[in-house]
Symmetry: C2
Subunit: 243 residues, 2 copies
């Protein structure tokens, strides 16, 4: 975490534990569920209840959160508001992030209108394109700049995260320009692997993965014995234990 | 798996092992990497190499695949083409799926143009909307029907999977119509939870989760000690082991 730099524990020679990516993904799921519970007027939730809502065991919930500290209260469970604040701090979304988007075609426009980003702390503050008909427009209240103004607008707005929503052949060129402009993290919707320096984080969005998960679920439904099929799918007996 | 119904092992009273959702997600990642290796002319790959490409241990790769059978050859590793065929069969994408999309706004249009779906075995064969200006159009070669024709078109094209790309307030109504039309799996882009019968699978796409993962990665970068930060992020020492 950001303040880990001042943490005296860092002085020790002990190797630091790594947080698996899957744990970080589950933090987002816990956050969504907690936000929903708060909207429904709930003040506290147990690890058992939180796990049940998501199809995880209570041990999984406790273990995931234990990577980041001690959040539960004996006999009470988690205080929803408090845990939401803690998880947002871990994810870095306790402060709002200004975000740039490159590509204002159909996908870019869809993402500019996506309410989920704003809800979770991300404000798209600038869009970039090269189409003369699009540059200068305002889409969902966001101005579209010519891509040649990337560095300038990124610096002016202290933008650290960017979304790449251009066709595949243009993606690497855009990524290079984003890196040169000082962007630290790229969310890539183009179905290509980007080559980036190790100082820049990248998350690739592969929408076909979600359809494949659905295809698996529908294909294997015949063997699903219990209504928990949303989380796990039961297959013919094999000699291996589940994780 | 589909043919599990005829599997004699099913007659036993032993409980069937569950496949965790995370394992199924990793199948998609293995598939993408294998497809890339084949494009690069590779015939075989070891679990170590495959794991390394994705940031997993070789034990993880072997354990994940072992849920579904025995795929490796001693001293050879996996045969790429053979494993791709096996994984596609497990995921159900060895045959092409005709898919319907409801909502032909910006997001729907972006998804209609998304090459990744076709590449992985999904053909969007029909789109639905209620806007008079949109109904009757052909977008990316796909005809847009009025939503009132859903049942008829779904039956005619033997469509089992549908994508919901309508605004949040309309999503549940659309889902109800899809269920009535006999759809078995829904990929939901609307940022709302859909209430569905247990016989219908649902995968929700929450694009803010991906941005949160990026935000976490950028926020915790200061503590990342090694260039493997794409897979795991190192945090100040705690008393918990990594999974």
């Amino acid at each position: 975490m950001k303040n880990g730099r001042n943490n005296p524990a860092k002085q020790s020679a002990a190797p630091e534990p790594a947080v698996p990516k899957a744990v970080v993904s589950r933090l987002s799921l816990y956050l969504r569920e907690l936000q929903r519970l708060i909207r429904d007027g709930r003040a506290t939730v147990s690890s058992h209840q939180l796990g049940r809502l998501l199809g995880f065991t209570d041990a999984q919930v406790r273990k995931d959160l234990a990577y980041f500290g001690q959040f539960g209260y004996p006999g009470i469970g988690y205080r929803c508001e408090e845990l939401v604040a803690a998880v947002r701090k871990i994810l870095g979304t306790h402060e709002r992030w200004p975000v740039a988007i490159v590509g204002a075609g159909n996908l870019g426009r869809a993402l500019l209108g996506y309410k989920g980003f704003t809800q979770q702390g991300f404000n798209i503050v600038a869009a970039f394109d090269i189409e003369p008909a699009t540059v200068g427009q305002s889409i969902e209240g966001v101005r579209v700049y010519h891509a040649s103004r990337l560095s300038e607008v990124v610096a002016e707005n202290k933008i650290r995260l960017a979304i790449v929503a251009v066709p595949a052949p243009a993606a690497q060129g855009v990524a290079d320009k984003l890196v040169a402009a000082g962007i630290e993290g790229i969310l890539n919707f183009a179905p290509v692997t980007l080559s980036l320096p190790p100082t820049v984080s990248m998350v690739g969005v592969d929408l076909a993965i979600e359809l494949e998960q659905l295809s698996f679920s529908v294909t294997n439904r015949g063997d699903a014995k219990e209504p928990d099929a949303k989380e796990t799918v039961r297959l013919p007996t094999r000699s291996h234990r589940s994780a």
